[in-house]
Amino acid sequence: MKVLCYSSFTFSYLNRARVLYQTLRRFHPDWELVALITDEPPAGFTFDPASEPFDRVVYAKDLGIPDFRTWLFKHDVVEVCTAVKGPFIHQACGWGADAVIYLDPDTALLSSLHPLEEMLETSDILLTPHLVDPNDERTAIWDNDLSASRTGIFNLGFVAIRTSGEGARFARWWNDRLLAFCYDDIPRGLFVDQRWCDHVPALFDKVKVVRDPGYNVASWNLSKRKLAIGKDGAITVNGVPLRFWHFTKLGPTGDLMTKTYAGDNYPVYELWAWYKRQVAAVTDPAIPEGWWAYGTYADGAPIEKRHRVLYRDRPDLQAAFPDPYASGRGAFRAWLATEGG
């Protein structure tokens, strides 16, 4: 099976993505690895795709999204890096691969994903739920089960499709939805790309819900997953091989969530320690922390989230200010200063 695997990120996440692609290369040297980047390299950093652990780069601006910069302005960095997953997967269906797999840049493989290829022999769409076992304790239910109810049953740090049949139909639908509705707006039933996928088992056939606990292990399901490292060298989750881990929220927030649910299951901390060492080893100090080329107005001032929300909610503003990044007299930014509040 010819597989194309991609991740979507900005240069701030290049270090994490490098770790992911290194692990992909290790276990799947035959897969085509593509980096989908919604950013431009910062000054002082030389980006040489040939020396990166992926095969090629696709810039989001080259996906043919109409009025790309204006469209992008309506999203914050998380929203847009999620939104571009849709057009990419839709277009990738026509690039000759039998299957396309998406993985978040903060995931990493600990063993082969070959069983997924086998699943794709009989299924066209694979999704991993946040939880495959219900929690019993009140705090865990609040933190995990109800969080998944708000943000989506499936974690879209992973999705795999066949590029034909129901897989292709899903890609087309996801493309359409994410181009128009990929916002973090939970009160309106939106959480970027995830809430949409709650519909997938109802809208599509040949959907496989991957309930194997070795996939997409993260702090939100640690309360029901026990990690073990055997003297044979295998790493298992609830007795089955660990396939990939989702190292969400690298830093104090992630540490706190992990401690809360890993408790004294110390192999979890070994795994995190490894991940932190790997990320540190491939972090390029020439990339400023929090860098994002589309995060500022033309004059360098940061674009506030509320400005983006206002702009996307007001067609009149979109019509009046076709280049919302501009600064100076007559620009959206100037209008904000006087009338936008």
Binding site: G233, I235, T260, D264, Y266, Y269, W274
Partner: protein, 657 residues
């Protein structure tokens, strides 16, 4: 004064709030006069505008509350009696910053550094980060904390507080909590603040919050992450580890070929008979079980009239070297240090010294390749015309740079395949190829007989690698010889002891936690025998130091103290455990875990104690009292003498005495 004070309710109340250490520190005129800080503040200090504690400014209170000054009231007394209830504002002492700065400077003198192999010092408390000015303690806080703070624990964990004579409750309330000093073993300030940012934002004492509200709200007092979490959190990468070791070592002054030639010229046998050894350090200055064995080997070589050349890395280095002639080596010639030289120079000088000398009995043993490059070892042996020799399994450096086979310093790994997921994530995983490669080079170029100090060490090595070797020998470092019954034990609690270096990989946190859990249980006494002081723990510390002159010091101490059982719970598989042999020789039994290698094998083979599946099983033995079955009074043990081996010499023709 004290009698008068005790009957004075004002004095009593003020004594709960006046910080004596602060008062003496910021008013040295009073310290020299040796006045009682509480009495001084009560009678005159407040009138002089002096501050009783870092958190309370006398003048500040009067400025913020005009009515108090007008009424001529003692500001602190007023605040403690009613001001706090009325929500009156206070201001911290202007002298507090200087006071804390002075304290930090003093505490910084107790700097600590990582030293592989040495016992870690207790982790210094981490100061609680200040998000806003700390709220001073209320009388309610004071009363609750006074009941729940464990004074013995607090003073034990904070020797500086104990030596200052400060009251632990006062110290904790006034400054200790901000300095991250936990009030008892079951509450963690750091955990509480990390989990509950609302408490951190409020600037209140987390323990007081927990007692007043948090406990009832179901908040967690302390995370049970286990000691392995702490080890992993502090685990340096290999690159950092090597950089740290490199930074610690000064380049030695290198000797010349003439120095070596002069040393070799002073031969016992005209250089005909020669024994060459390699190890990771200078066994004449660093003392440990293996070093003491090497001393015996060297002495026996001398007694046989042969010359002994020992090569060790000039700098202790935790991995093999991969580049030839990269780092200097130390040279011991017949137990005397000749100096430090480039490895190639030693090989050349030895070759020149031996040229034309008819070889007699020439032998060699590699005790450790740590810090050596295989190429350097091969070059030197070639210069001596040596190819057949011995390779010792004192550790498992031939399988991994983590030569204890302790994955991430927390769990026995069993030396799985280097490409396994476990080795992928282990901090030592990246060293495996270099270590296996360097040793393979030796084994392929030489004809080596592998010598293991225990069968379990040999079995592990066989399972973990496939090195071509000429033979295998199991040769223990020590053996037991019966020496009659032990004297009748005295009465008293069951005496459970930890022997040796109190390090995590030796299971020290397991013993410490057990002692804390059963502190005060009249059935048990917990003892520590070793070199470290043990302040603040419910553990009797007895200094014991083993040296070449007192090789049986540990055995003698175990016997003298009437230890019933010794906990030797190495997390890593020991290739040989002197400590276990010493304990049993003294009439104690050994309690150990499943991954302790030679300890568990020795216990099982000789019926010398218990091998337990895990730490929970150990705690259960104490909970039920089943451990009491191991008391001397129930066993009537025998004593043993310990006979030590001379390592390689025992294996040489004519080597045994």
């Amino acid at each position: 004064m004290a009698a008068e004070a005790a009957s004075d309710p004002v004095y009593t109340l003020l004594s709960t709030a006046v910080d004596a250490a602060f008062y003496r520190a910021v008013y040295p005129d009073l310290a020299e006069a040796r006045v009682d800080p509480v009495g001084h503040y009560l009678h005159s200090g407040w009138r002089e505008g002096r501050d009783p504690a870092p958190w309370f400014s006398t003048r500040g209170y009067l400025e913020l509350n005009n009515d108090i000054g007008a009424a001529g009231l003692n500001p602190l007394h007023h605040y403690l009696m009613q001001g706090w209830r009325e929500g009156r504002e206070i201001r911290g002492s202007g002298l507090a910053p200087r006071y804390y700065a002075g304290r930090q400077a003093t505490e910084a003198d107790f700097g600590w550094s990582f030293d592989p192999g040495a016992a870690p010092r207790p982790t210094p408390p981490t100061a609680v980060p200040r998000r806003r000015a700390a709220v001073p303690p209320t009388p309610g806080d004071r009363a609750a904390v006074a009941v729940e703070l464990d004074p013995a624990y607090y003073l034990g964990m904070n020797p500086d507080v104990a030596s200052s004579g400060a009251d632990p409750v006062e110290h904790f309330l006034n400054s200790g909590w901000r300095e991250g000093r936990d009030p008892n073993p079951n509450f963690s300030l750091a955990d509480y603040l990390e989990a509950y940012p609302d408490v951190a934002d409020a600037g209140i004492n987390p323990f007081a919050h927990y007692l007043a509200a948090g406990r009832a709200e179901g908040r967690i007092a302390k995370r049970n992450l286990g000691f392995r979490y702490d080890v992993i959190a502090a685990l340096p990468s290999m690159a950092d580890r090597l950089a740290r070791v490199a930074a610690r070592n000064e380049p030695p002054r290198l000797g010349s070929a003439a120095d070596l030639a002069a040393a070799f010229a002073a031969s016992k046998c005209g250089l005909a008979d020669l024994h060459v050894t390699f190890s990771h350090d200078d066994y004449t200055t660093n003392l440990g079980g293996v070093q003491l064995c090497l001393q015996r080997e060297s002495r026996r070589v001398g007694e046989l009239g042969r010359d002994h050349l020992h090569i060790f890395p000039a700098w202790a280095w935790p991995t093999v070297r991969t580049v030839a002639n990269e780092a200097p080596v130390g040279v011991l010639w017949n137990e005397a240090l000749v100096g430090y030289f480039a490895p190639a120079l030693v090989a050349q000088a030895l070759g020149e010294a031996l040229a034309g000398v008819a070889p007699g009995r020439r032998t060699f043993a590699v005790h450790s390749l740590l810090g050596h490059a295989a190429q350097d070892v091969l070059a030197l042996l070639a210069a001596a015309g040596l190819r057949e020799g011995f390779f010792w399994l004192h550790d498992f450096a031939s399988l991994c740079g983590g030569y204890h086979l302790l994955r991430d310093d927390v769990a026995d790994c069993g030396a799985p395949p280097p490409e396994s997921p476990a080795c992928t994530i282990c901090v030592y995983g990246e060293t495996r190829r270099a270590h296996i490669g360097a040793h393979m080079r030796l084994f392929e170029a030489l004809s080596l007989t592998v010598v293991a100090p225990s069968q379990v060490a040999l079995d592990t090595w066989r399972a973990g690698g496939e090195f071509p070797h000429a033979g295998e020998v199991v040769h223990p470092h020590a053996s037991l010889t019966p020496a009659g019954p032990a004297p009748a034990p005295g009465k008293g609690p069951f005496r459970f002891a930890y022997l040796g270096v109190p390090a995590p990989h030796k299971g020290w946190p397991i013993f410490r936690n057990l002692a804390l859990r059963f502190a005060g249980d009249p059935r048990y006494a917990f003892l520590y025998l070793g070199k470290q002081p043990m302040p603040g723990l419910p553990i009797e510390a007895h200094p014991v130091s083993v040296s070449e002159d007192t090789p049986l010091a540990m055995r003698d101490a175990v016997q003298e103290l009437g230890v019933d059982a010794a906990m030797i719970w190495s997390l890593c598989r020991e290739t040989f455990s002197f400590t276990a042999h010493e304990a049993v020789a003294a009439g104690a039994v050994v309690v150990t875990g499943p991954d302790s290698g030679n300890v568990a094998a020795f216990v099982q083979a000789g019926g010398h104690g218990r091998v337990l599946p895990d730490e929970a099983a150990l705690a259960a033995l104490f909970e039920t009292g089943e451990i009491l079955e191991l008391a001397r009074a129930r066993r009537n043990p025998r004593l043993h003498d310990l006979t030590f081996s001379a390592l390689t010499v025992d294996l040489l023709e004519g080597g045994r005495p």
